[in-house]
């Protein structure tokens, strides 16, 4: 009998608390590349200027409504699981200090770039705020 009650309580807890309560994105929030443009030809080191509308920038760990920080995805798709923190590796650059521009160096050739906003815990908002994926050619 006792075991049943404990099991039921456990199930109730799981039901009541969603696994990840993602941070809501403001309506009309839009992240985009100010520079470079889609199809741009750039030198091996170039500045990426990250644009954000209807939302603000805040460093990681900052719990302020309608804010997030930039992540630059290089040669990769959007994460499959938006409930998890954005990976932190050479294909996913984090700008947790509230940066809005970044100096990027890439080997010659074609590369894709995409911006994805993360909340204070680096988890995408709900719905995710991401840019179009653009292609640049590095000379």
């Amino acid at each position: 009998m006792r075991k049943t009650i404990v099991l039921m309580a456990g199930a109730a807890c799981l039901y009541a608390m969603p696994l990840h309560a993602r941070t809501p994105a403001p309506e009309n929030a839009q992240v985009y590349f100010i520079w470079p443009g889609d199809g741009a030809v750039v030198r091996h080191a170039f500045w990426v200027r990250m644009g954000l509308r209807n939302m603000g920038v805040a460093p990681k760990g900052t719990d302020v409504a309608a804010t997030g920080h930039h992540h630059l995805l290089i040669d990769t798709d959007l994460p499959a699981n938006m409930n998890e923190a954005i990976p932190n590796d050479r294909n996913h650059l984090h700008f947790g200090a509230g940066e809005t521009e970044a100096r990027v160096e890439l080997p010659p050739g074609r590369h894709t770039l995409q911006l994805l906003l993360g909340d204070k815990d680096h988890i995408p908002h709900d719905p995710p705020v991401h840019s179009k994926k653009i292609t640049v050619t590095v000379q």
């Binding site: 100010i34 500045w47 920038v57 805040a58 900052t62 302020v64 804010t67 200090a97 509230g98 809005t100």
Partner: protein, 149 residues
Amino acid sequence: MRTPFVTLLAAAVLGTAAAAGPAAPAAAADATPAPDQAYLYIGWPNDGQVLAANRPIRVWFGLRNMGVAPKGVKFPNTGHHHLLIDAATPGPGVEIPSDRNHLHFGAGETETTIELPPGRHTLQLVMGDERHVTFDPSVASRKITVTVK
């Protein structure tokens, strides 16, 4: 014996008050040091640009070697944007006024749209720390002039 004690106490209180006095207004002495190499600029419009009247003007805030944080957030090497319209350049360690000539972007915004009456106007960006106080040295963009007609 009692009198000197009271006097000493009074002196101590006065000393505290004197120490607190100069710190109250935001003085350059307690200004947040500017991040090394911080560079603030207006990405758009350009200096000398002629803009159409009765159309919102989008202003891009460019910032390098420094980050953006909303007001009240203390995080190393960050601040928030202020757009000065037809206003004088504030010095370091000065609290930026909040009025129609000094627009605050305390929610961490990195661009805005403004409307300006016809004529010549100056635009300048200035970073403020979590208290809206300018850095030392002040992180400010070049002041640009636009013409609305």
